[in-house]
Symmetry: C2
Subunit: 299 residues, 2 copies
């Protein structure tokens, strides 16, 4: 069998072949994740955990990031509980770009109205003051900011104005909007499914990340209408239900954990992922989105 290496945080598989005994195997980012202690993991707050069930048994768990977009996220929680998404669908899949869902143009008319207490034109919330940063190791420069790293266990980019934005990486969830910055209330969301997502940084409200079920968004048929919208002859994918985990009985809540950026395990992971030596030439650095924060279900 011919192998090629695997993204550490997305698959924690065994390394391809044992090294000969005289030459001990070099450690990989997966080894750092496997060696993490229980205290190195942070429980995801069930009040910030959205559980989507799309048609066909497609379960997608999304963690919200209220540290970055509180008004948008307050809106989204109200929308989830209101029934506004009763007829919501996945209606757009643009290759190497986004999968988008919610109450789209066609669904708006037959959807229950937005709840009255939703802020229909929230401020942009594209960045916030810097706080509690962990910076990428040396070599890992960032073409989209002055400095990239992590805050509140999320990937962030810091700018010359001292503010940081939640970075748009693979699996980041954002709020769709019209041409004006304050036109995205939260009734239509998108997840990044390709490369090149970072250019949305500070242009759209990033509100969360997919913790599991990403393949249910990334492997969908691409839309054939302009901009990757589903054409009339393509079947949109209905949203069957969506819950906030904290609204479920405690025993029914899935318990996700993300690695704490302040942990020794994360420092180890970050160093190994940025300066890989476990195969071939290794690398002199890594892009921010190339070192995703490790995620797991609590054991």
């Amino acid at each position: 069998m011919i192998i090629i290496p695997i993204l550490a945080a997305s698959l924690q598989a065994a390394s391809p072949a044992p090294a000969p005994p005289a030459q001990p195997a070099l450690r990989s980012p997966s080894d750092a994740i496997a060696a993490a202690a229980p205290a190195d993991w942070q429980d995801v707050d069930p009040a910030d955990l959205l559980l989507f069930e799309f048609d066909g048994g497609r379960s997608v768990a999304v963690q919200l990031a209220p540290q970055f977009a509180p008004d948008h996220i307050a809106n989204i929680k109200k929308i989830v509980r209101s029934g506004h998404w009763a007829n919501a669908t996945i209606y757009r899949v643009a290759d190497n770009w986004v999968t988008q869902w919610g109450a789209g143009e066609d669904e708006q008319e037959r959807s229950p109205p937005l709840p009255k207490d939703v802020k229909e034109q929230p401020d942009e919330e594209y960045s916030r003051p810097a706080e509690g940063l962990t910076i990428l190791p040396s070599g890992s420069v960032d073409p989209y900011s002055q400095l990239a790293g992590f805050a509140f266990n999320w990937p962030i980019a810091m700018h010359a104005d001292g503010r940081v934005n939640l970075a748009f990486c693979y699996g980041t969830v954002g709020v769709a909007r019209g041409p004006a910055p304050d036109t995205g209330a939260g009734s239509e969301l998108f997840a990044m499914i390709g490369a090149g997502s970072r250019r949305l940084d500070r242009n759209f409200a990033a509100v969360g990340r997919v913790l599991s079920g990403m393949e249910h968004l990334s492997a969908l048929p691409r839309g054939t209408a302009p901009l990757g919208f589903y054409a009339p002859n393509q079947a949109k994918i209905p949203l069957r239900s969506v819950k906030i985990a904290s609204d479920l009985p405690a025993a029914q809540r899935p318990r996700y954990q993300v690695m704490k950026q302040s942990s020794r395990a994360f420092a180890d992971y970050l160093e190994l992922a940025s300066h890989r030596k476990d195969y071939g030439f290794g690398s002199a650095g890594a892009a921010l989105c190339g070192v995703p924060v490790p995620v797991r279900l609590a054991p």
Copy 2:
């Protein structure tokens, strides 16, 4: 309809809404592509154009890059013409990572042998001397190299040793191998379908890029066996035929073109894509893989 912006080079769609007359629309990368003159485009050599037909009408066109991996590419052409891939399949789809095909482990036994003149252990060909570079605009630093840009109309990264490698971006095609660098003859190939692909730079032989049909590789069901291999209960996707375009009568060859990196249109595109101002905040730079070389079918 709520919109979000689109990768310029992957979709050349109209911009979302006309600007009001008093405030002329700011130009986007798509505008630079649309304004390119016929001389700004380079025909893809049909001798370097592979036409794959996978089961289910999935056509995928791949341009080879002999400037970077001549021995591997000579191998691949021999394999294409030999019938070695008679039983080849797509047998691995790892989310946010790769789709891989060829004569895999299960197909090797019942495949015609590799042609005798294939170099079974070609040298690694992971980099080459720098030549004819176009560098990314200011601000576009690269975490994986000293300097990133383009050579021979391909994305490249230059290193402290003065050598450049063909960069692994979305849609880049590489040669799968075992743990040793010289174990990839070319009978198993992969295409990058996610973010974070750059860490393969100088670790695997990059041999080409997908010019069209990328969605037939990126939207496939993900493999459920370890490392994203298809499990026994998943249907591998047979390769029905593969041709080198120059082996077809001239009238049957699709005529692809890539934008010349030396053209004024490309300089315009590169600047607009790196310092976007056509919506929101724009950006201070761009990642190498965020500015793919524009591709089209000859008009």
